[in-house]
C-alpha cells in the first residue's frame, strides 16, 4: 500500500450496499403485498403467460414482471424468455418490453 493509499483509505461503502438491497426487496414486496397500486402485477404475470402459452411453450418462471422507479417515472419491465427454437438453430432468445407509467 502506498502512502497515498493510506491517506485516502476508506472502508467499503456499506450504506451503498444497504440501499441497493433495499431497492430490490422493497420493489418485490410492493408487488406481492398488494398494498400499493402495483397489486395487479402477479395477476398480470399469470395472464401474460396464458396469452403467450397459446403460441409458445412457457413456464411461469420465464415471464418476469418488475416495477422499478427511475426518478419520478415508474418503469414496468416485462421480460419473456422464449425457449430454444431447433428449426432456426438459435439458442435462447430474450425479448424485453418496457412500459413507462406516470
Amino acid at each position: 500500500m502506498s502512502i497515498l493509499d493510506w491517506f485516502f483509505f476508506r472502508e467499503p461503502d456499506s450504506a451503498k450496499l444497504a440501499k441497493d438491497r433495499l431497492q430490490i426487496v422493497v420493489a418485490r414486496e410492493r408487488a406481492s403485498t398488494g398494498d400499493r397500486v402495483q397489486s395487479y402485477l402477479p395477476q398480470l404475470q399469470q395472464e401474460l403467460l396464458q396469452v403467450i402459452a397459446k403460441y409458445e411453450k412457457l413456464d411461469l418462471e420465464q415471464v418476469s414482471v418488475m416495477l422499478d422507479r427511475k426518478g419520478d417515472a415508474e418503469v414496468l419491465e416485462i421480460n419473456i424468455v422464449l425457449p430454444e427454437d431447433p428449426k432456426r438453430g438459435s439458442s435462447v432468445r430474450t425479448r424485453g418490453l418496457s412500459l413507462s407509467t406516470g
Binding site: E11, D13, A18, K19, R21, L22
Partner: protein, 279 residues
C-alpha cells in the same frame, strides 16, 4: 375541525413515542389544543415519556368500551395548558380496540375543541397499528436510516394508502410525512449509514424532518419530559422545526449535513478513530 395525525413506523424502537410526545407538546406550546392518544394497549409507555404515569385512572379501552367518558380519561399536562394525554390500557389486549368506539372518542375530542389529535401507534402491522392509523388525516412515518426500519416503513406507507378510512371512502389519501430519527450526518458522510436522500428516494414520501442522534432524548425520557421542552438540545431544535412545518410554516431543513471539516481536522480526526479501533 380537528386534525388527526398518526405517528407510525412498523418497526419498534425507532422513536414513535418520543416523536408523538414531542410533536404533541410542540403543537400545544404553539397554542393549539392538542390530545395525544397511546394506542399501544398492553405495552403503554407514552405516560412515562410524558411524565404522567402516576396520574392514570381511566384509559383508552375504558373509553372505547363506554366504561368512562373521554373527559374522565384525559390527563391534563402540568407544564402546558393546551396539552392532554389519553393513556393506553396496560392490562387489556389489543382486540379491545373497536374502530367504532375509537371513532366516537375522536369525534368527542373534536367536539371538545381539540385542534390536533396525535395517535401514537404500536409497533407492527396488526390490529393495534391499524386502529391507530384508521382515522388519520395525516401520518408521520418515523424511520431510522437502517435497512429493517426502511423496509417496515414501506409496508406501513402501503397500508396508509389502502387500509385507512380515507382509502376505504375514496377520499383524498392520508398525507404521509417522513421523519428520519437517530440520524448521524457524520456516519452518513462516511458511507456507513443510509443518507437522508437515499431514504427519501426509497420511500418516495415528503420529508418532514431529520432528528439527529442525541443524548438529550434519553435524558428527557429519564425525566418524563418531552424532548422538545429541553433547552440546548439539537433534537429539541429539530422537533421544534418539525412542529413549525406541520403548522404549515417554512423552516429550512437542518441536521442533514455534518459540520464541514478542514484538511487538518480530517487528518487528526482520522488518526483519532484509528487509535480507538486499534485500542
Amino acid at each position: 375541525m380537528a386534525k388527526v395525525t398518526v405517528i407510525t413506523s412498523g418497526k419498534g424502537g425507532v422513536g414513535k413515542t418520543t416523536s408523538a410526545a414531542s410533536i404533541a407538546a410542540g403543537l400545544a406550546l404553539a397554542g393549539k389544543k392538542t390530545a395525544v392518544i397511546d394506542f399501544d394497549v398492553g405495552l403503554r409507555n407514552l405516560d412515562l415519556v410524558m411524565g404522567c404515569e402516576r396520574r392514570v385512572v381511566y384509559d383508552l379501552v375504558n373509553v372505547v368500551k363506554g366504561e368512562a367518558s373521554v373527559r374522565q380519561a384525559l390527563i391534563k399536562d402540568k407544564r402546558c395548558e393546551e396539552l392532554y394525554v389519553l393513556p393506553a390500557s396496560q392490562t387489556r389486549d389489543k382486540d379491545a380496540l373497536e374502530l367504532e368506539g375509537i371513532g366516537a372518542a375522536i369525534d368527542e375530542l373534536a367536539a371538545m375543541g381539540f385542534e390536533h389529535i396525535i395517535c401514537d401507534s404500536p409497533a407492527g402491522i396488526e390490529r393495534g397499528a391499524q386502529a391507530a392509523m384508521y382515522f388519520a388525516d395525516e401520518a408521520v412515518v418515523v424511520t431510522n436510516p437502517e435497512v429493517s426500519s426502511v423496509r417496515d416503513s414501506d409496508r406501513i406507507i402501503g397500508m396508509l394508502d389502502a387500509k385507512t378510512q380515507r382509502a376505504v371512502r375514496n377520499d383524498t389519501p392520508v398525507k404521509c410525512h417522513l421523519l428520519i430519527t437517530r440520524y448521524s450526518p457524520k456516519r452518513a458522510a462516511a458511507g456507513e449509514m443510509l443518507k437522508v436522500e437515499d431514504v427519501l428516494e426509497l420511500l418516495g414520501i415528503e420529508l418532514l424532518g431529520v432528528i439527529p442522534e442525541s443524548q438529550s432524548v434519553l435524558t428527557a425520557s429519564n425525566m418524563g419530559v418531552p424532548v422538545v421542552m429541553s433547552e440546548k438540545s439539537d433534537a429539541a431544535d429539530a422537533y421544534r422545526d418539525v412542529v413549525k412545518r406541520l403548522l404549515g410554516l417554512q423552516s429550512p431543513h437542518r441536521f442533514i449535513e455534518g459540520e464541514k471539516r478542514g484538511f487538518f481536522s480530517r487528518l487528526f480526526g482520522a488518526g483519532e478513530q484509528r487509535a480507538v479501533v486499534g485500542g
